[in-house]
Symmetry: D2
Subunit: 375 residues, 4 copies
């Protein structure tokens, strides 16, 4: 693990997710840019002192010298955004599979470079769009792909958070906090942080790819030119319309990611804060509420559920589902990307995500024209 | 009443609303373009045969000859859109107050003409944006105007209905049904039908006026160039951002009008299908749920509630609240527009609404530029 | 109308409900035990001074002398409980149909006497268990009676209100307020006020009749021996079990009436505070949400809805549905009780309700034995 | 681990819960009464062959011979009910801490015997009433104990499941399935399975102890005299009233555990299927919705949350919270039962639970008298 030391927020989530099924453990790490803190974190995590490294370069070098059975199988990168690209690239090229926190770099070109590295090294890069690990998201995907919704006409994803005003106004965080500092966070705050989740979720469920988009982003509170609110009009290939909108200055919102998909036979709605159910509506406008664990779910949704009906799974379990698929892919090196066995977001999703970030920023800047997605 | 005969949908709603408080009754009408049907409707409604008219012109003429105590005080227009303008204009000029179903005509110029007519005749025109009559919408307005939400930064209104696919696919209505025929419905289906409710609700609650907008509208099912889906990016005067999106081809949706307003201290959310409650969220992201009838509501919200806490009022009661304010304005001819006593949508709202319709259509057509609102 | 003058709470609701469809108006009344207040109320309501009476006896006498077309058709009694019996009896015997607020007296014997009077006079007594007028309650009844739920095994009704602590602690009402004074309210506060709604709703929907019950009631706040909380275990005839529980000292509750019925094929749930929808669950534990106005509803539920899908009806509309059925019964004197045309609660429901009140009180007092229902 | 082999349902949940925080692992087990299946399970779980035992007796004997650092620290019993007592007793007496699935035996006397064994051996027995591990349940407890709700007057817990009709009617399970066989399940199906969760949850949150109860239980579908539905009227010590009702033949219900507590200042409501929020209502009948991760939560609720606001934790995380407290207690042998550090259900809860089961069955049988709780 790179990053994720004492006091970190996303590192512990990765650790719970990869530990949950007893298939992996943390054996080495460079847990902090501060060597003291890194050592202390290693000790708390039960990592042997000699495998607690000062930085990722040292770790890559030392681990790659160990024997195959001894050295790490994969590295998890949970550092600020601007460091993702270099770390992921070196670790891939050093022969390790990589789990890289999103965003997968800070430019589209970095993403393309990583995509090429994955192809050259034949290693796997997982990008934890963890929401796609929820059972009812898999059921939503199934309903679209099995044709039950009919032709998809409209996709709406909203993703609203209110932590920016809470931190700035209530906690009064120093303005140099990394999330608000472009030197660490890159050129985009909200699009790169949650907008790409919205795009990824819409695409995971519907399979639709963006042809062009028109965006309006604003910096209300974040400062330094970092947007904290954006709305994006979308034209999907094939004629469907989309609306992706997200905000991190939305006072009072927790983690309000909501997906709605309208087909010409049925529609569906799913909300991340109540992930155990999925609402399906038909032409007559009766609603059906499907629940995690229901005997009527598709195989994949059933397999992704850990507890029975009415016993809530959480995001850690969704996250662990991604890890399970990642482990399965590691064990089966003849890769079969896109198969159900390899049901996790990968480097190709990262390329699309970074293309989305750049298109939204460009559209917002340049007199709000419709922008075609790069690919 | 003009229109609203046997089989009509919105006419009976007006009748329940104006009857509810015992302050008005229907005494005359031209209930249908078919004279037989009009007579029969009059008979069923207890209207005297001699005051059942063949058309609105005849009604205007005959009624204006009656003595002041005998003739109608106001006329209610509940006919297809393209007829609204001429009817409203003649009735105003014949000396009657008018309740005109929205949209207030089919062009911005018609709306401006009616505005001038209202000023000249000193009569009142009410436009039934009935949702503004709900007690909790009044409370929402109060929370914004009293400063409890702080500075408003973002307004999102979604308004989704699914009747278009239901009618076309399940009921297989003839393509000439008036809603789908530009000769009756005018150049806009969805924006003119529900988009203007969304704009009106946002403005009623926040007081914000649109400076410019950028829209994407589509005709999926309606045909004849009539849009049935639209999303609108909004820049409000003063810097707030807005997102107004609406659809009538949204399979499975009933009457899904939802308002969310984000201030820098608090936010609020209100949904028309559960109109009795209002959610207010603070920076710490705790929610408060306020309920119609609560002792903590502002005076206007309390006055607008008819039944006590937990005993639901419906849309008819909200609608009747508009009528009560309209009656109050009629009784007090020294008009004091904008006062609490005159809390109903009027001809000025109609002008803004038609300006909104034209701007959305223009933006959607003309290479999706940002369009400034006319005024 | 007897009672319901200025400041009254339930009187205005009756007036809205009977006025809504334009089929009735208030033409006479004894609106208050205070003659001055009664006159003033009459004046406000547009009742002619000569038909504003000092008390119900005077009204019964004077009105019965008027010609059939002129005199009142029915009387509405909206006075404190202990007066209901005498008023209803005299008005029936004076030749008027009666709408009597529940409870229908304060003893089972009074109820039986009124039942006999109804049979003798061939007049109609309606008891406004208004919740049975909601469209989705009628749909619930349909689902049970059509066999869709299978054999009914369990019925649970909870009815919780929190106005007692609010009034006593926040408003600090004088202890002599009529609701808390047995001289006006009778021997039971909560069972007679809302417990009978719970019993009536369960019976309306399922048709099940109580064979025996075992209750535990308590007086927490109300004082004077008046219970403000009760739970009742029920054995229905035929083997189904029931649980009816209600409270008026339930801090924070508004008007929380919730019905759940479990059959051996499906179950249903309905909540009065969100009356527009009905949840139906099947063996696989998928939920279906049915909505007022849906094309899939039974005829009666469809007819009872006033506004289309997604446009909320309120309790006034439900109440008005009872009045419509009552008017229909008045117009068709060859009574056909129990038919769909006579779909309103009547004197027989009142007898069962009073039997329920007495059985609950007796079971609670007498060492908590199982008590058989009188009939 | 005893039981929990291939195909088991609750065993894997324990394994996820104890593994989540990296503080324990499964190193030995007797996973099935079938030795072949036990071996195969051990192999899948990575348990060394020599520590895969044929039964719990062999395990207890062999493990107790190992050195302190090597042998198991605690045993987890996840077998059918009738075996719990003997296993727990032997394991305690062999010097191991025990996690024993509920119910803690099948009679009150067994529970008392285990209580004595715990005291004698100074070992710890944890009983996984896992719902008490949820952060918002801890917040509920805090609100009661800090006095924010005022004096508690009424507690209502409902716990409804619909798996019995699903299994019997849809899956057509053989009648000898262990849950329906008194030889394995003991004398009580539903009270012992979920009724004790209801009692435990009410007591955990409020601290109230049952003085006497009056119950009505029924066997609708389960057969063999095993009740599948029960309602219990409760008198708590100190004057509060309770209503605990539960069913496993409630068609359509998933895992519907709902708690409501009414104090004289505020009330609260919590539902297990949406465990991340807690509703608090005040005298004015405004609701506040508190959320897991909120900065306003009490220390214990905050510590029990793993993911931030809006990122759902599940039941596994709640369960793991119990294990963390259990581990803490193991590490600190000077026990301080009842402290926050030892916040898990223990043998004393098991004694009360079995007393509850026996009292409910006795009250239901014996002419429905009020029964005093044993202690």
């Amino acid at each position: 693990m790179v990053g994720g030391g004492i006091g970190a927020s996303i590192g512990p989530v990765h650790r719970m997710a990869l530990r949950l099924d007893g298939e992996a453990e943390i054996v080495a790490g460079a847990f902090s840019s501060n060597p003291e803190k890194s050592k202390e974190s290693a000790s708390q995590l039960g990592v042997a002192p000699e495998r607690s490294y000062d930085d990722y370069r040292q770790m890559a070098k030392a681990e790659s010298k160990l024997s195959e059975g001894e050295r790490i199988d994969f590295a998890v990168i949970v550092t600020p955004n601007t460091s993702h690209f270099e770390m992921a690239l070196l670790l891939l090229e050093s022969g390790f599979h990589v789990v890289c926190e999103k965003p997968m770099g800070v430019t589209f070109d970095q993403a393309k470079t990583l995509q090429a590295a994955v192809r050259n090294t034949r290693k796997i890069l997982m990008l934890p769009h963890a929401y796609t690990g929820y059972p009812m998201v898999k059921q939503a995907k199934h309903l679209v792909h099995s044709g039950e919704l009919g032709k998809i006409r409209k996709v709406v994803v909203q993703y609203y958070q209110g932590w920016v005003p809470y931190r700035l106004k209530v906690q009064a965080v120093p303005s140099k906090a990394w999330k608000f500092d472009p030197a660490f966070t890159g050129p985009s705050l909200t699009v790169a942080d949650i907008g790409i989740h919205a795009e990824n979720l819409a695409r995971y469920v519907t399979g639709l790819e963006i042809e062009e988009l028109c965006a309006d982003s604003t910096s209300f509170l974040a400062g330094q030119g970092l947007e904290d609110d954006a709305s994006v009009l979308v034209h999907y290939k094939g004629g469907a319309r989309g609306l992706l909108h997200f905000s991190q200055m939305a006072t009072g919102e927790r983690n309000g990611l909501v997906l709605r998909v309208y087909g010409d036979k049925k529609s569906l709605a799913w909300a991340q804060e109540t992930p155990e159910s999925l609402t399906v509506c038909d032409l007559s406008r009766m609603d059906s509420i499907l629940h995690k664990g229901g005997p009527y779910l598709c195989d994949q949704a059933r397999a992704a559920g850990r507890l029975p009906l009415g016993h809530p799974d959480g995001l850690v379990e969704a996250f662990a589902n991604l890890y399970l698929a990642f482990f399965e892919a590691i064990r089966n090196p003849g890769r079969d990307a896109g198969s159900e066995r390899e049901d996790f977001p990968d480097v190709d999703d990262g390329v699309i995500g970074m293309g989305f970030v750049e298109a939204v920023l460009e559209s917002s800047r340049s007199d709000k024209k419709w922008i075609r997605m790069k690919c």
